[in-house]
Subunit: 328 residues, 4 copies
């Protein structure tokens, strides 16, 4: 059994709190949020008391923290928790600056605490099955991977302004997925992007549509196709092609109902966004963290993975701005 | 908030206990089981104390009971609970004898307590969507319904011997679903059956494969296709054809992964059996019962529905044995 | 190479004429039709001359006839062609009267000419694959078969009046398919039907919606689900369930395009009717007839098959009117 | 009616000869091939006489030529036919050298003869439907297009050596499709490639796996994913995403049959290669050429389109070798 403090009571914090409560080996014992109302509201739902960050860090009865606060607080809170000897679950990214990430991970390493960086898609049952079946040799050596990753609709421009840009905010999940699936070092990154969904995104210095090509050490190629707006839901698919076949994970649809009439046949859309699509993934991710915190499993998504994905995002930014392939 | 006693701590009781615990407006306060070990084991998992049936019935602090014990105890326990003023959630069937069902429902009516009979499929989001969209007029007047309902593999013969036979044990869900979807009285039942899966089932006096044709008041026809063994999982599909189109609910698959190679393309099977397939249905069913117990909703699956489905099952038995269509 | 006369230049005759012309081993050498305009029009398209029935039968240079004229001429023309020593391809049915069919087949047998009765669906590549894979043992012994067979929209009442009724006109294809797939004698037929699509069909003494249950010698059950109006196209599917798995043939869709937007995802309907859906089947059927006429293959769909299907249709009529299972 | 000479009696020539023969307004009147045996064999099948190139060009009774001979003869034969006043259907590419293409097209223009360059995929009913529905405004303005284009297995290295390389031989179809769908000028090309399927392809100076990113004038992005070996058939899919939705064309499968058992559910693979997959496209392409030759339609796939696709292929080669985005 681990006792857990949740730092950040917003949308993603609420997802985690439900999983913490439902897991037979974790207990939610504290809620921290810069906005007292958010903390109080979640406290009422869960019965866990509101505490300050200082109280949490000082309390030796708290085994683990879940950090779901604003991105620019992640690295600081990780260091604080590491120095307090807590097991750490932190939403991605550790930080938008690679140097800051590296410094932070050094602290974690010195303190010898477990750290799970929330690349939730690694725990999606479909994507995990693709990886596992690849590792079992079902398709021979990987030769290419295609990741289609489209959000249903763009976030507010205010979010985009502090997001680190599309490559660091959105594509970072796909960089991680590509590495997770192909399981080889990336040696080159080529990225193209444009702003066609909303000019306000371009005015904020960002893009809303992008294509990234990854080259892996063996020569295998990866393709990531992104947009901030699919219009029809969260389009999340992967195709891993090997020497002896292809493993593919399709979208999860909202339901299995179809309507056929003179006009045609209508089926359900993909589940709308990440809360629905990755519901099972968040649950499995939490179960994995409990295993890690209790020393029963090696972390599948640690600081190194977070650093690696950010490094690829930085390379994509460079490639996009220079029009050149960036070798790593 | 309702306080709930669970009677029957077996497989289906455990499904309900999880839903009772997870629902914000219900609390599991007692567990009853004829087998002390089963009761204790579930008590340890949930923290709810083991009690006797008498204690539960006598305790005015207990608002509702969930009856998931052996079929031949259902009617007695319903009457006991009704006379104790509890809201009642009982697994189907109320009883295998229509006369006993009618006597039992009379008691429930006299005691004016809510009774939900567990036709879980009514709460499946896909099937419920078919019904709702039909009610909204999306396909005009219903002209026929096809229900394919195949178990993955047959139960033990010992189960079959006390099951009431395929029509009363298995098809009963499909009778209920046909009525729920078409929403008209059934005026005739024609049934054919045979034993081709396992001769031991035939020796027990039962069949393992069946086709039932229902005639509704408007002339609409219903077809139910059953087998105790699909071999590939729980095959649960419906097609409701109306004057202006068809609504169809397909199987839920185990995952969205496919493998393509020289030999062909392999996709996942339907979810294996009812615990997986109707996971969401059981959850929604419990939420509906809480609403009913708190007086916020009319019961969608009461005693009348249970009686009606059993009446159709009895007619199917008669039709199967006589080779004649049975008019109701 | 066979030289072929086409008797009947209507819609189905035109389908056959195209296949005769395209096949490298058949040549269309005569067209016969009671309506001179129909004959002339097809003659102009194909270059084959218009002839009278007598000319065709008397011409020893004509090896084979294709009979696609009105149903009530089939048996007479078959006998005429048999006595003239021609190989015969005749659209189903040989006749609506079982006695007439038997008399006609006797003539064919005496004349020792090949006769193919046009159960085109036997030659559909998908259905043929189901049969072949079953024969290869891919699913063990058949335990049940489900045939969904829905026309897109009802024919004119004038057609229905002389059609022999739904069971003899429409279901006859499904009776044949069930026998073709399960490959066992049918021992009992149970049929229910109603008129819900169009009252004018009922006034003509027919039904537009039906369910038939077949019992095979081994105990395997067959289900046929029919309607004259699906509203969304030609719904033609089969599911053959065996002891070790299920073979299923889905509909062929009009195209592979889908449109996804906020309202949902729209895909194509099944191909609209038999000319599109069974395009490949008609072609394969003709190729098979050429093989039969040239003595290179045993006929897969002869007079016996036509007689058997009609016998089942007659039994269905009896069951429907008496409300009893008919044993054969 | 047009009278047609076929130049090149190989595999693709045979596809065209069948369509020429089957079309009511075209007649095959001559076959030319450098290999007399190939010409004779096709002559026997079709009844059309073998002739020399000179005879064909000199014969004023021949209206049109179909050029399906070796790539390095295309430009010469086009010029010859143009100067002889024939309507010209030529397989892609006109030539592997852009300068040679431009010179050749100049001759065609001066001679004012129709030229159709065989980008067969433009005539695929699925892809054409995507284009037409986009043009009708079904998804708003295009923002990105994804083309997955995978051959089932690599051609012999001898073919690769004289193919012009993957971008000019294989991707050229996808460049053309991207332009056809998005219908805007391409302003930049970025390409990455590698050799992972067969080292012999690399030794021949070519790649077998590639990803190309196209930037269109409006900012819309195109992605092309290629490999010489899928292992499971001809993987040919497109996704055109617009401001208001997505149009997608999926693969055509070999059949509609599935087998479900304990091991899972097996469905058919995509049709194996271009002869099957683009069967309908070749037929529609020929019908279009007849319309063009008879002056009834504007050519949908002329010399300009051929030149444009080659220009993009050249840019892809440059981008791949320099590691830089090439602006056009």
């Amino acid at each position: 059994m681990i006792k857990v403090a949740l730092i950040g009571a917003g949308r993603i914090g609420q997802v985690h709190s439900a999983n913490i409560v439902a897991h037979p080996e974790s207990r939610l014992v504290a809620i921290v949020d810069a906005f007292p109302e958010a903390a109080l509201s979640l406290s009422e739902k869960t019965g866990a008391p509101v505490k300050t960050l200082e109280e949490v860090m000082a309390d030796p009865g708290i085994d683990a923290v879940v950090i779901g606060s604003a991105t620019d607080t992640h690295a600081d809170f990780i260091e604080l928790a590491a120095r307090s000897g807590k097991a750490i679950f932190c939403e991605k990214p550790v930080d938008l600056s690679l140097a800051r990430v590296q410094a932070c991970l050094k602290v974690v390493e010195e303190c010898r605490v477990p750290l799970l960086v929330g690349f939730n898609r690694r725990f999606d049952p479909n994507f995990a099955a693709v990886r596992n079946r690849y590792q079992q040799g079902q398709i021979g050596k990987a030769e290419s991977v295609l990741i289609v990753s489209r959000d249903p609709s763009p976030p507010p421009v205010s979010y985009i302004q502090r997001s680190g840009g599309l490559f660091r905010d959105m594509t970072i999940h796909d960089f991680d997925m590509a590495c997770y699936l192909v399981d080889e070092p990336v040696v080159a990154v080529t990225a193209r992007g444009s702003c066609v969904v909303d000019p306000a995104i371009g005015e904020a210095g960002d893009i809303d549509t992008a294509v990234v090509t990854l080259e892996f050490a063996s020569g295998a190629l990866g393709t990531i196709v992104n947009t901030r707006r699919s219009g029809f839901g969260y389009d999340q698919r992967i195709e891993l092609l090997g020497a002896e076949g292809m493993l593919k994970a399709e979208n999860q649809l909202e339901n299995t109902v179809l309507l056929a009439n003179e006009q045609g046949t209508a089926v359900a859309n993909p589940q709308y966004f990440f809360l629905e699509r990755y519901h099972a993934a968040y649950k499995a991710e939490w179960a994995h963290f409990v295993d890690v915190a209790l020393g029963r499993a090696q972390c599948l998504s640690g600081g190194k993975e977070g650093e690696q994905a950010l490094r690829l995002a930085d390379a994509a930014v460079e490639s996009w701005t220079t029009g050149k392939t960036v070798r790593l």
